[in-house]
Point group: C2
Chain length 420, copies 2
């Protein structure tokens, strides 16, 4: 009656041993995957959003979309609005056309007008017309606006958004240094702790502001290298090398915290963190950091893979207790997207067949379970057994981001083989 992974004495379900022999005929598989992912991106995912999400009347994007694209609500969520602007702007420069740039503009202009309040804080949730409904005591709305404005400035050439991106980035840095304006209570019993998500998003923002080599680097600010170095150091403190685990929350010096919060594992999040680190390592040529990044990734995938039903579990407890998160055993789209990117990146950088096999296994499970061939796009939330739990395609936390980013990045990683 009790799931295997819940037994206290049971180890966190390891993946089956990886074969060490090289994959035969890799080229065949490469081409097949490249076609499959490209078709999914341009034939299913992009059309769904271009058809159903654009609010041509009031601007921005509808992001509460049912299975068939019909709306089940009109509110607009700033994380998702910003990420959609970012993704559309990226695609405009790589496979997309003027329609995608125009769609990006629809979101960028809406956000510029409505996303930030008079106190400089970015909202979380807006009405269809942009009136604010909710605000989080977190920095992520601001962060996704930085990404949106930076990439849209690059795609459109509109320098207004360049200024907005840099101003908001400074505001994010200030909020990380002094979070008082976020309004989170400071209480005597709180354990000193740091969350993986904060250095992760900052590292990602620096990468986005720098842009691809040769692109507009947003004035190549003198603080990029320093922020990057500090973020990398902070992120590595979450990696428990001895056990191969990545903890979501640790003490500032990296010491594990023995509480449900301190034992929390989020395998998909750890894999995303790992590929962010691997990208930095690749750019600066740091082989040690690259090895750490792939060790983090391997540990997270070993911990998170569901040996019984396949796919990645959402949350685990480092010591095998039940996570307090009710949705711990669900299979969410985004950890699988991040695992596709991460494993393929590890294969490209190391050339090791075992990483190709990991990619093939995870991408196969993902493509077998999440896409909706009938109406396009992917389901986001599956039960542990892989059945659809939530039928909507877009919800308060699921937008035009993880799916197209994974398909687009994987397609690029596969295409890069030709250049070898």
């Amino acid at each position: 009656m009790i799931h295997g992974a819940l037994l206290k004495d049971a180890p966190l379900s390891p993946s089956p041993p990886l074969a060490q022999e090289p994959v035969t005929e890799p080229t065949l598989d490469l081409d097949r995957w490249r076609r499959r992912l490209s078709n999914e991106l341009w034939g299913s995912v992009v059309p769904f959003w271009m058809e159903h999400s654009l609010d041509r009347e009031l601007g921005g994007y509808f992001n509460l979309l049912d299975r068939d694209g019909g709306r089940f609500g009109d509110d607009k969520h700033v994380w998702l609005q910003g990420r959609q602007v970012w993704m559309l702007s990226k695609l405009f420069g790589d496979g997309g056309d003027e329609r995608h740039l125009e769609a990006a503009r629809l979101g960028a202009e809406f956000l510029r007008e409505h996303a930030v309040g008079p106190d400089g804080r970015a909202y979380f949730q807006l009405r269809r017309d942009g009136a604010p409904v909710g605000i989080q005591r977190k920095i992520f709305s601001e962060c996704f606006l930085v990404m949106a404005y930076a990439e849209y400035a690059r795609a459109s050439g509109d320098a207004t958004y360049r200024v907005l991106a840099l101003e908001l980035f400074d505001r994010v840095l200030a909020l990380v240094d002094d979070p008082t304006p976020l309004g989170r209570p400071v209480l005597a019993g709180q354990r000193p702790a740091q969350d993986l998500s904060v250095p992760m998003i900052l590292l990602n923002l620096v990468a986005e502001l720098r842009g691809a080599p040769g692109s507009d680097t947003f004035a190549d600010r003198p603080d990029y290298d320093d922020i990057e170095r500090r973020c990398v150091a902070r992120m590595l403190r979450h990696f428990d090398r001895g056990r191969g685990l990545v903890r979501e929350q640790v003490a500032p010096d990296g010491t594990p915290i023995d509480s449900p919060e301190g034992r929390l594992l989020n395998p998909g999040h750890a894999v995303e963190a790992a590929w962010f680190l691997a990208e930095v390592a690749h750019r600066v040529g740091d082989a040690g950091l690259e090895a750490d990044a792939f060790a983090m990734m391997e540990g997270a995938l070993d911990a998170g893979w569901d040996a019984e039903h396949g796919g990645l579990l959402y949350f685990l407890d480092a010591d095998g207790f039940s996570p307090t998160q009710l949705e711990w055993s669900m299979k969410l789209w985004w950890p699988h997207c991040e695992a596709m990117i991460g494993t393929l990146m590890a294969w490209r950088r190391t050339g090791e067949a075992r990483w190709w096999e990991r990619f093939d296994r995870i991408a196969s499970w993902t493509m077998d379970h999440f896409p909706d061939p009938e109406h396009g796009e992917w389901f986001g939330y599956l039960t542990r057994e892989g059945e659809v739990s939530q039928r909507f395609k877009a919800g308060p936390y699921k937008g035009f981001f993880h799916v197209p980013r994974a398909l687009w990045m994987c397609e690029r990683l596969l295409a890069s083989v030709d250049a070898d």
Copy 2:
């Protein structure tokens, strides 16, 4: 692949038709249920908490307890600490003994010392030693302290707690009138809305302060009747008579709000609200209100019953969309506890066989799935299929409250038949 209840065109799964003929040999079943529930309370549930939860060293109760009673964390949650004081104090007066009063004192003294901060707000989460960790922008910590102090004052005769209860109750009323001190943002796009939970908890607090007929009524404050009347009116605005649905959030005049929040149904919560109303109706002899309460209950049970796997679904959308809550299809212990109380109360008040059948069906499913005969107490969180999802017995929202309250109240309702 998609759950039946998720199809947009499918009606919310109704329960099988109820038989109208009277139940044969009800006495036999009555005795069987009475024994079974009493044995569960005194043989499994109370011993688990008396053995594992009392922190004799630092006071209060451990409320992060694994399947076998072992601790998976030391933090203490104020909702649960208060509710445990309340329940132990109740049991002391009805089946319990000095050990239960002493255990209640352990929590009451801990809360008196640590639960409320210098600004008068009650915390949500404390360290083992009482140092504050977290605070909610909600009134419920304060409310459960009122219940705790009132019942402990009654059980112990200690007038200090009587004063504390009344002071905190005044503070709760002030926060309902003017929620500014809670610190929730007020934003231009927010729809005017009221949550069912607020009038519900106030109605419950008045009932707890009044106490049983003949008991200490806490000075029988002149505002009890007025608060009660206003709460009843507000709660009834959540009842969509035409469709038999109870909405968690409506406009202040009761108009439905067409958004995911406004369409949200929580069948277990609706059933709890209904039996709170039925108790008021019974006390004041309001047959119309009693009929409304049982109509609410029937609608909620029809909407929430899972025809495929049995048990009550946690969340639904009034128009059949997927709820955005990831855990919508899980089976939680507390809606089942509330449904046991509610259906048995409806049977006692109406004498209708269909309510006995409802009780028998829900209580049977509950007793077949939640109790843990090996280590005592109940599991709290099951998958839709009825498998254990979280193996812990006590967590941040599950304490010594819904299970013992349901077993204790059902046992009393069954015992009251003898008095007829």
